[in-house]
């Protein structure tokens, strides 16, 4: 069925609806987390949160999302502020930190460079100036670039609900494409990232056709902890864009832990990652191609990992 044509809704060449004028909705600027939660409760699942808007406004233009209201949380002070060290052992990233801030943060560049790199690869300068790290996670695109490196680093997130604040490991946060534990009633709080010990390496590799404004065909984040040339003490392998959610591959991690990080262990881990991937065929690549890319990206990242 072709979408009905009207001055504000036209079919694009690929058959998608595109709305030059957004459908009407109410706009509320929240000042506190409590206010945002109360507004979400009032609309009972029919309101979306608005931060940078670079995802939700696009989805509304594509008519994939028809919220009755947008609750703007950009000016909620408790969700913003600087990226900072907490207690010397972890970094707290406010959900409203813009991707440009993550990419240029001196603290992250020094302590968690993989996060700054992942952010700098995303979208365009204009989008990075506006989009927030919290939005990238809360929108839960299977290809969201911040998720795999954060999960690989063992990050957790604060989740605000009307009952209080909970801390959720990021690898339990995603439920499906566009779905998280937030539902449409909770608000994402700070992202907490433990500082890796000496001798730990985290690497994020993504495969795209173009270097700019592209979405990952497949991506891989690895985290490897070892002392000197000793055996691998801990490993985390996380895949992006090849499953409904960012996918942690424990079989691949087990293939590495206790191993020496040599070619055999790397082959076992990259094979386990390719086996675990559950990619779809789409315009960016076939499922088989994506699985093969996963194998190659995991192998290359692991070959790079030892210092």
């Amino acid at each position: 069925m072709r979408p009905a044509r009207s001055p504000s809704s036209i079919g694009s060449p690929c058959g998608r609806v595109f709305r030059a004028t957004l459908r009407p909705f109410e706009y509320h600027g929240a000042r506190t987390v409590a206010e945002a939660l109360a507004l979400l409760a009032r609309y009972r699942g029919r309101a979306d949160l608005l931060a940078g808007g670079t995802d939700v406004v696009v989805r509304m233009k594509l008519d994939r999302e028809r919220p009755e209201a947008l609750v703007d949380i950009k000016r909620v002070a408790a969700l913003g502020g600087p990226i900072r060290l907490v207690g010397g052992s972890r970094v707290a990233i406010p959900p409203l930190a813009k991707l440009a801030d993550v990419a240029s943060s001196a603290l992250l560049r020094r302590k968690l460079p993989v996060l700054a790199e992942a952010a700098s690869l995303m979208a365009s300068p204009q989008v990075r100036n506006r989009a927030t790290i919290g939005g990238n996670l809360a929108n839960a695109a299977p290809s969201a670039d911040m998720a795999p490196p954060l999960i690989a680093l063992g990050a957790s997130v604060r989740v605000h609900s009307r009952r209080g604040v909970a801390t959720v490991p990021l690898d339990e946060f995603f439920l499906g494409p566009g779905e998280t534990v937030l539902g449409r009633s909770k608000v994402l709080g700070a992202i907490l990232v433990p500082l890796p010990p000496r001798g730990a390496r985290a690497i994020y590799r993504t495969h795209t056709v173009r270097e700019a404004m592209d979405i990952s065909i497949a991506s891989v984040a690895i985290y490897v902890e070892r002392r000197g040339r000793g055996p691998i003490l801990r490993a985390r392998i996380v895949l992006g864009a090849v499953a409904p959610i960012p996918l942690r591959v424990r079989e691949a991690e087990r293939a590495l832990e206790g191993a020496d990080g040599g070619a055999l262990a790397i082959a076992a881990a990259s094979g386990a990652a390719a086996d675990a991937a559950r990619p779809i065929d789409d315009v960016r690549g076939s499922a088989d191609y994506r699985r093969e890319i996963v194998r190659v990206l995991v192998r290359r990242a692991l070959e790079e990992a030892p210092a």
């Binding site: 004028t21 300068p125 100036n129």
Partner: protein
């Protein structure tokens, strides 16, 4: 005056809200319903049509403006969300009849074909040079990765931005809007 699309929700069209913007240094009060973008307001309400509407979904960069000094896609910013902000469009770059050094360089280098991407390219280049006054070619290319030129005239655009950066560094001009009057950069090349 664009009706909120006459469809099923026409019965409860959200009210217009007052939105105050400082556009190119001038305070403007407009009224916009929540579903209008900053791009709609700039072009259709304020008549500032230098900011172009391209893809209208944040991919092409034709609508790039500076919002509180940082480049954004105006098509993705709700007008109500920009309330109280400072907006600089292509129209705000020249000062006292003198082109901004980036505008001058685009002219001098012939970095214009059909011209549709040009305002967005130049505004984005202002953001780039503010963050990195001495970009190498790679940094310039990354700086304009969100601006598409369908004529594919990137080579001269990159040259123009590099030339403007050199001119601005040489002190013949200042980066960014709202500073002291820009003077022309180097002599005209052919």
């Amino acid at each position: 005056m664009r009706r909120a699309d006459g469809e099923r929700r026409a019965a409860r069209v959200p009210a217009e809200r007052p939105v105050t913007l400082i556009v190119n240094g001038v305070r403007r009060l407009v009224h916009a319903p929540p579903n209008r973008t900053l791009l709609d307001v700039l072009r259709d309400t304020l008549g500032l049509t230098g900011t172009n509407r391209g893809c209208n979904q944040g991919d092409c960069g034709a609508c790039t403006v500076l919002l509180d000094g940082a480049s954004v896609n105006a098509c993705l910013v709700l007008a109500v969300d920009a309330d109280g902000s400072d907006v600089t469009t292509i129209e705000g770059l020249a000062e006292r009849g003198e082109l901004h050094p980036l505008q001058r360089a685009f002219v001098d280098e012939g970095a214009v074909q059909c011209g549709y991407c040009t305002p967005g390219m130049i505004v984005q280049a202002v953001d780039l040079l503010r963050r990195n006054p001495e970009p190498d070619e790679q940094a310039i290319r990354i700086g304009i990765e969100g601006n598409l030129c369908r004529c594919t005239g990137y080579a001269k655009i990159v040259k123009a931005i590099a030339a403007a950066a050199r001119g601005m560094k040489a002190g013949t001009a200042r980066p960014g809007p709202g500073r002291k009057p820009a003077t022309t950069t180097t002599g005209r090349k052919k």
